[in-house]
Symmetry: D2
Subunit: 124 residues, 4 copies
């Protein structure tokens, strides 16, 4: 069977405009709100037109003692020129966790497919 | 015919925990990125459990010369206790517009239904 | 305050291509799976291009003894010409209920805004 | 870097209740509407409670000459007991393609993470 998992792309976000850039603290206290900013195209802007755009970002957390990742949120970027309106692929979300683990951000370009990135989070 | 439109609830967010609080600039320059923060329960926290939670926020912009609103984005809050993880109903999104108009935020509580709020945005 | 609720449009789906057409049984047994088909443009097709498309449908159920509607599902139509692919605004969903009430379908056109329709469901 | 792609699980849907079952024609004519049904738990039902449920399904198409997959649709299952309402993880979607390729269905359980399946589609 083919696997969608093999179709996720990544790379250095300083050179590859599709890679989600994740801004998050490295260390937090248990239960303290964690603000995570995800930006696509922070260094090199990605096109934002009706024909070519970033459709969404999903953020997951994979605790170090867990077997499965948990979805934190899904963020759809809806406007790409309608009546002069453009949604930027740039969101901030907030969550709490009692455990250390990995924050994953995945994103979708309607022309260039699925992308991902991750950072580690330490809970003290 | 019945209308879903009549089922949107609102109120003063200082007393009603479901009303989305919208933080946005009052005035921006044309094409300048506008950061909009939407929080549910900023003054009085809303429950965040597997049984009772805020499911999503949608943000629309209705330009003053427009006939129809345009969706800026949709934001799903996915974790409500899974493995000790809680997504907070608190997001920041970014968009650009060349026209003045109204920013609407709508939200959904799985127990208490649909809510809304709006603020005016002036483009100079 | 302005209300997004006033911006939902409706009409006769035989003449207005944006109105969601809801196919559902009129009567079901309690707990029996209910199949609901929602189609936009069943009689008069709606455009489906990168510039103009139906973005999503949401389905709600408002039980006759309830104070608030409950969301059954959200359905995003994502492809509008990418690599020759077109998602049609046409879905079937399934749910169960023990109570009679109203099924609402709402939809969003990126150019023509928010639309709605409803049908009654009797549980015996 | 860790990869979310490695976290997609699969298996035989006759024995593993999380695997999305895809019902689609094997062969279609170019541009002819293709109806795809995706069911989670067709053989062995998956739990559907506020604590444990299937959150969503995403469907992609990867044309045989393409470099990237294109998202056909996203389907959120929203009700898990609210006021006696249960959305079943069972949808039908429709799309058209001029090219042969692979239909992927991915799904998310709030407790058991990400799952996937795929079938081949031949366009004559
Ligand atoms: Fe791209
Ligand atoms: Fe509530
Ligand atoms: Fe339209
Ligand atoms: Fe499960």
């Amino acid at each position: 069977m083919k696997s969608i998992g093999t179709l996720y792309q990544s790379g250095d976000w300083k050179g590859e405009k599709h890679v989600p850039v994740i801004h998050a603290p490295e260390t937090v206290k248990s239960g303290e709100p964690i603000e995570v900013k995800v930006i696509i195209g922070e260094e090199i802007p990605h096109p934002n037109t009706l024909e070519h755009y970033i459709g969404w970002v999903k953020v997951y957390f994979f605790a170090e003692d867990a077997k499965f990742p948990v979805e934190i949120g899904n963020y759809d970027f809806s406007a790409h020129g309608e009546n002069g309106l453009f949604t930027e692929p740039n969101i901030t979300t907030r969550f709490t966790t009692e455990k250390s683990g990995t924050i994953f951000a995945t994103s979708y370009c309607n022309i260039h497919g699925l992308w991902e990135n991750s950072v580690e989070l330490k809970v003290e």
